[in-house]
Symmetry: C2
Subunit: 341 residues, 2 copies
């Protein structure tokens, strides 16, 4: 179940980094320091981290922006502000998420709020969100305005997904449909937007932006399904999070929700184990993982992820784009469900 | 030192409210409930609060948007999305500020985070910020795009001001110039933007948007100077905050910073009183207020506020607009320094 990131992702990261750093450098010092730490460029003291030692993110969203731009135009550079903007929105959501969830670790390092304090980390997230809008609006082009509107909508849907996630924590039972709706907001909205921003910034007419947004939306749900599998069965040394982390946090992830709603004896037993008061023991975490699998939660999640990837691929059928770009997009779709972190 | 809000502010509030409510209604339930509580329309249980009993804000920023729009156009309605957007950004900043500052009271009621929890209140702020951009970009006009860019820039400056404010808490000594720079970001940026959004949305050419932005910027600093005076000497039953609240929180507000930097014997004594460990006693709070005044901090702040209002008024000289609108803007400028809350 592991795979290397496709070349398009590494290529995207190389184009992105100088532009992202130049944008983050526009922030005033305290916010810049926190953002720079979050992106892995500096350590807790502000000292630069050599590239080889950095715990950076996958930068999947900006790679999608730049790859999808190449579906519209040989030169993806007009889409660079879009790549920067989606990575800024993603960083904003991670900074605030870690605070809201009380997650102390991000990418093998202490989460920003544990280093700089909650108020400064809230504010840094706010600053990155505001900056994402500035970056797109500064293009001053019609495509830039359409892109800005798409990003504002996607951000609103992302936040709605987060709000559902928070609400689920207080409820005993969540339906699978509700859980999928949450994933559509929390993860798929920004991935869908990432796929449409490139064509929008390159002024490509429909059906390209719409088809790529639909591709990205399915891809996003597949991404979340895979993320939830990794949250239970991922290797801690690769994911940067403890094994069974989501079960320890009693997160109502997609595999857990599928298992709880499966109507099996294991579903009942899982509800009982997850309902025990206090911090779950390591034995409880292992038992819960076994029960999710026995109730069919793991198999359902894997099958649903595969179905979403197939649906994503189908959205590209009959849409005109260079063969090389299509091949890269399809490779990326496969990577999303086979990645190990 | 008290004054009624000018008619332009009440008129603005009446135009604003239905549009603001319709916009907030677009949020999903949990976020809508928190926003609705924050705006004073509902209580902690979600039950509607009758208009006469509501603890609403002053809605000064939307009033400025609509009033400044009338400088450009008889019909201020094209500026309504701008009025909604600035009130959303203002609400976003208050929701996050109260969390960051640990303030438990807002407009005579428990602050939203104390009712709905910190994670939900962070998220509601995020949702309102994202919504503010959507509202302007949905206009689809050239003016709407210029307005969106102005708002994104103002939001970024507002956040920079907040970051300086946070940083000041950790430092023993702040210069008056630094403190004024903080106020320029934290308060003046959004007020300046409020004054330019109306003309921008009405597609008015320069010099009107620029002159009104300059007017709003000076007005914003005057507003903060007055706010800081009220934070020490305001009547609790009017401000909705305990007397001497800013001194109890050891806030390095403008009067305090002016007093500390005045080089008088009282400046030294004030530093000593504010430097005492633990929660300040009521006697310490009263003593600090007396020392700020004795060191000249109150007089400096009052004089600076008056100078900023004079400068704001001067920005309107020679700029073409209906006499009635000019009179309303000047009345509003005077209100800012004579208000009691």
């Amino acid at each position: 179940m592991t795979a290397q990131a496709p070349a398009a992702v590494s290529a995207g990261r190389e184009l992105l980094e100088p532009a992202l750093r130049a944008t983050v450098d526009r922030l005033d010092r305290p916010m810049r320091e926190i953002a720079s730490y979050h992106f892995g460029w500096t350590d807790e003291t502000g000292a630069p981290v050599p590239p080889a030692l950095r715990s950076t993110g996958k930068a999947l969203r900006p790679a999608l922006v730049l790859l999808a731009a190449r579906a519209a135009d040989d030169d993806p550079r007009p889409a660079l502000p879009g790549a920067v903007a989606v990575e800024l929105v993603h960083a904003f959501s991670l900074l605030h998420d870690d605070i809201m969830d009380g997650d102390r670790t991000r990418r093998h390092r202490p989460a920003a709020w544990t280093v700089f304090g909650t108020p400064a980390a809230i504010l840094c997230g706010d600053a990155l969100l505001a900056l994402s809008h500035e970056v797109l609006l500064e293009t001053g082009t019609a495509g830039g305005h359409r892109a800005a509107r798409a990003l504002a909508g996607a951000t609103a849907r992302l936040i709605t997904g987060q709000a559902l996630d928070l609400e689920f924590e207080r409820r005993a039972r969540i339906s699978l449909a509700e859980c999928l709706r949450m994933a559509a907001g929390k993860t798929a909205a920004l991935l869908a937007c990432s796929c449409s921003l490139g064509p929008l910034l390159c002024e490509a007419p429909e059906p390209l932006p719409g088809a790529l947004a639909a591709f990205g939306s399915d891809l996003g749900v597949a991404f979340q399904l895979t993320d939830d599998l990794l949250g239970i069965w991922g290797a801690p040394e690769v994911t940067g999070k403890p094994a069974g982390n989501d079960l320890r946090a009693r997160k109502k992830s997609l595999p857990v929700t599928a298992a709880l709603n499966a109507g099996t004896a294991e579903s009942e037993r899982l509800a009982e184990v997850l309902g025990r008061p206090g911090v779950p023991s390591e034995a409880d975490v292992r038992e819960a993982a076994r029960l999710v699998e026995a109730a069919g939660g793991r198999a359902w999640t894997e099958a649903e992820a595969a179905a979403r990837v197939a649906s994503a691929r189908a959205h590209l059928d009959g849409v005109d784009m260079p063969d090389r770009v299509r091949a890269d997009l399809l490779e990326l779709a496969d990577y999303v469900t086979t990645r190990s972190r």
